[in-house]
Every structure is written in C-alpha cells, then in structure tokens.
Symmetry: C2
Subunit: 200 residues, 2 copies
C-alpha cells in the first residue's frame, strides 16, 4: 500500500501525484495542512525530520524530497517508461531533476508563494522581483534546450514531470511564459501525455 | 576520456573529484576561473547553459549539476560500490542527494562564500546570520539521522560524498560542527574511506 502525504496546492506534491497517475499506481492521500503548521507535528517530523511535504510511504518504506520520490517511483514501477537505467539517459534525467531543484523551483515556487500567499504589505518587492528574474533566467536555460529537444531527456520522463510542476504555475507568480515559446510548446506536449492531470 | 571542468575552491567540484578518485577513474581537469567570470564564456556556456561548474565530459557526453554527476558516475562505474540500483537503497541515496541540494548546500555553501569571498563591508549581516541558522537546522536533520546510521544510505555511497563536501567547509562559513557530534563522527568515517582526498 502506498500513501502520499500531500497538499492540494503544493507543486512538489503535484509532481508525485502526476507520476503516480501516469504509472497507474494506486495510492491513498493524507492531506497535511501546511498553512496550519501540521508539518511540525511530532507524527509528521517522525516521517520527515526536514518537515516538508511530500512524503511517500511504500509498504513501510518512507521517502521524502519530491524529485527523489520521482526517481524512486521511476525505478520501482517503470524501468522503461518514464525512467531509464541506461547510463546516459539516466544521467540526463538526473541533471534536469537537479537543475529543477537548484535553479528552477527555488525561483518559481517562491515567487508563486509570495505572490499568492503573502499579503502585499508583507512582501519585499525587491526580493520578489529578484525571484522573478531568477525564474526568467532558469526558463531561458530550459527554453534553449527545448528548442531542439521535444522533452528534457530524450522521451517523456520524470525529468519533465519534475520541471513541469512549477513551470505550470509560473504565471501565478508573475512570471510570464510568453518570452519562452519552446517552453510553452513543451508544456502543451506534457499536457497531452496519457494519464496527465493538472495541478488543480 | 573523461574531462572535468573544475575549480580548486568549489565544493561542488570537490564532490566529483572525490568520487572519481574513489572509483579509480582517470580524468583530466580544466580549471574554469569563476572569479574572472570564465563560466560566462561562449565556449563554457555551450557546455553548460546554466553557467556553473562542475561539468563532466565523458567521451563526448556532457553532464552538469554536481549531484547528478555523482549519480551518473555511480551508475557508470560502480554498480555495487558507492551506488546501488536496489530500489530502496537507490531511493535513499537520491533522497539525501536532493536534501543536499535543496537544504544543506544552499545554506552552507552560501554562508561560506559570503564569509570567505565577500568583503565584510559588502556583506548583509542579517542575510549571513539567516544562512548560518539554516545551515544549523540542516545539520540538525543530518545529525539525527547519523545518530543511528553509520552512513546516509546504508553503506558509504555517493549520498555521503554529496552531503560531505559543504559540511567539510561549514566552519569556513562560521557554522561550527560542535553541536552536531554525530555529524562530526560521520565526517571522520568519510575521511577514513579508501581513496579519500580532502577538498584542498
């Protein structure tokens, strides 16, 4: 039995929901109300001492960090669909999943969080603009790659899922995709994959 | 032939040098002078559009993102030594490599950079203290895990290499390890592995 500790607004949780759906894996969801601080409860900290969602529990095996969960699910359920053990393809998948977490998500997820959930009077406008600019630089890197590649690592894979989540909500954070036409076309290709579900 | 685009002071490059040394893989180093902006040269941007070191080139296959390079090297050269394809161990390795990049490195690497390379009058003391505090929180998570585990993912692996690099330089950034005795003992175990080399 697979259980996902989830929140419906979290892009990081959405990655895992999308992968599970596309892999056809049944699971149950437990909503962790991060706006009420439930990630700091002793029960949750026992699962993830880093106090973040998502957490996946696969028959007692507990794993956290969204992009690591994608790699785990890929290996466990899909050797040859949205994951690959061929060294170069594997390396390329890992590269984009790490780029997602070092470069893309920190900018786009945080810009969205501030724009959607922090009251205007409590925001630092300089910080928000710096995040949006970092997001545009990261999208530029993605756009260059996607000009000549249909997907990030050969065929559609967890690398696309990992990077797509916060790109799909970029405009909620005040980052327009209109300057990144190859990224927009890639988003359309991701949305047309079998088993695709939107974030909400 | 393997080529590593490297800088001797970079913790991210050190991870790759350490892994290559422990795997016994021969390689040549090309120093990219990041203090002179050589990562912005057209030649380098053609290798890594994200303009960061390290970059590894393995017989024409170009890969970047330090922790992704560790996963690639693990799969390519060491199925059963410092890497594992067994799903749970693989998932655990990925979890800690992602934790390194989302939580540990952003705090410790940036605190070190500001402390070592930014002149005191140009630093934001509030930002620096916030980075140090984030580093201590991340070290606390690591410390809890290492109280009951010799290494991060079972036996010594690329997960340890990935997290060790900036832990080994934490004190250069003003973050003492003295409150994290299990982390200190783990550092000693990492340093006693065959093929270990220090950052400098």
């Amino acid at each position: 039995m697979i259980r996902l500790y989830d929140h419906p607004l979290s892009g990081n949780c959405y990655k895992v929901r999308l992968a599970l759906n596309q892999l056809g894996v049944e699971y149950e969801k437990v909503t962790v109300d991060i706006f009420k601080g439930e990630q700091n409860s002793p029960e949750f900290v026992a699962l993830n001492p880093n106090r973040k969602i998502p957490v996946l529990v696969d028959n007692g095996f507990v794993i956290w960090e969204s992009n690591a969960i994608l790699l785990y699910l890929g290996k466990r359920f899909s050797p040859n669909r949205i994951y690959s053990d061929e060294p170069k393809t594997f390396g390329r998948i890992c590269q984009w999943l790490l780029f997602g977490k070092t470069t893309l998500d920190p900018a786009l997820a945080r810009a969205r969080f501030m724009t959607r959930f922090v009251p205007e009077e409590a925001r630092d406008p300089k910080e928000l603009e710096a995040l949006r600019e970092s997001g545009r630089v990261a999208l530029g890197v993605l756009n260059e790659h996607l000009k000549e590649n249909e997907f990030l690592a050969g065929s559609y894979s967890i690398a696309d899922i990992g990077c797509f989540a916060y790109v799909s909500t970029a405009e909620e954070g005040g980052v327009s995709l209109s300057d990144f036409p190859a990224v927009k076309r890639w988003c359309e290709r991701v949305c047309s994959q079998p088993g695709y579900i939107p974030i909400y």
